[in-house]
Symmetry: C2
Subunit: 193 residues, 2 copies
Amino acid sequence: MYESLRAYIEKYASDTFSETDFEVVKKTFTHKRFKKGQFLLQEGDVCKYNAFILKGSMRLYSVDAKGIEHIIQFGIENWWVGDRESLTMLTPSKYNIDAIEDTEVLLITSEELQQLTATLPIFSKMIHTLNQRNFSASQKRIHDALSLTAEDRFLELQKNHPDFLQRFPQTMLASYLGITAETYSRIRKKALK
Amino acid sequence: MYESLRAYIEKYASDTFSETDFEVVKKTFTHKRFKKGQFLLQEGDVCKYNAFILKGSMRLYSVDAKGIEHIIQFGIENWWVGDRESLTMLTPSKYNIDAIEDTEVLLITSEELQQLTATLPIFSKMIHTLNQRNFSASQKRIHDALSLTAEDRFLELQKNHPDFLQRFPQTMLASYLGITAETYSRIRKKALK
DNA sequence: CCCACCTCTTGACATTTGTCAAGCCTCTTT
DNA sequence: AAAGAGGCTTGACAAATGTCAAGAGGTGGG
C-alpha cells in the first residue's frame, strides 16, 4: 500500500530509502478511504491534511457568489492535494476538496510534513523538486489562462492530460478550463474533427 | 546597498543574520544596473541568474506567434525575477525578462543559490517561506484568471497592487490582465466612476 | 521649436463566449 | 416498465471582449 508513495518519493528525490527511514514514513502517514462526493476539506474550515492519492481522484475548487464551481486542480493517482495556504497559515480555506470517484489516500499533517522534511534528507529533496515543478507548472497555467482562447486551452489539456478527458465529466473539465459546459461541448466537437 | 536584501531575508526567514553569514551573502551576489529596455533574459537563452530588484522594475513575459506580448509577472523593489524552470533545468527559456525602468539588481546563479540554501539556515528558511507564498499566490492568480471577468481582475489588481496602476503603462497592465489595451481603457473608465 | 513617436481614448463592427431553454440519452430507482 | 435525475448537445440570442481605424495629447530627440 505504501509502495507507490515510496516509488514516488524516490523518483522525485532521485534517491533511495533506507528501510529504517521508510519505516518512519509508513508510521507517519495515515490511510483513509473517501466515498465519491466525500469532502477532504470544506470552505471555511482549516485544512488539516495533505493527501497523497493512491487510487481514485479528487478536485480542489471554489464556489463563487452565484454558486458556480471553479476547479483549480484535479488530483489523480500519485498526486498531492491540499490547500497549502490554509495548511501552513492555519487560516480558513476558501476552497473545497472532494472525491470525484471512490478514493484512497495517505494523509499527513503540516507538522508531520515539516518534521519529515527536517529529519529525512530524501524527503526534503523531494519537496524541493516538487516546489520547482509546481512553480513552473503554475507559471505555465497562468500564462495559458491569460493568453490562450478557450479552444487552445482545451487543446493544451488534451495534449498534456489526455486521460483527464476520458476520466472526468465534461462539466468538470469545462470548469477546469474556465468555460461553461455548453462552450466546452461546442469546442470539443469542433476540435475533434 | 545590500541592506534591503538583508532586511528582506530577515523578514521572510523571521531570523537575524550573524555578521559573518551576511558577509557570505554579500560576496555571493553581484550588483548590476539595467537600462530601461535592457534584457536580463531573452527567449531561447538559458536563464543564468535570479535577480533581486533593489531599484526599478522588470517584467517577465512571453511573445506569441502573432507577436503579442503576454506579461506573466511584474517585479519591483524587493521582488525576485527569473525563470526558475530554465534556471534549474538548464533549458532554453520560453520567456523574456527586461527592465521597464532603469533598474538596479543583485544577481545570483542557481548554483550559488543552492549553495547558500545548503549552508545558511536563514537562507533556506527564507526560501521555504517564499515557496509557500508563491504557491498560494499562484493558486489565486490561476483562480482569478479562469473565474473572473476582465473587470473583476482589474479591480483585484487595483486592490492588491494599486501602485502598479500608477507605475506601469496601460498597455503593460492590460497584457498582465490578459486583455487588450482598448478593453483596459474602457474597463478602467467604467470602474473608476 | 517642431517633428516623430508613443500612449491613450473612442467609435464601429466582428468574434468569442455566456445564458437560457429545450430535448435526447443513459442510468438508477422504484 | 415507468419515472426521474444527471450529463450532454443544440439553437437562438445576449453580453463581453477583440479588431481595426482614427484622432487627441504628451514627450523627447534633433
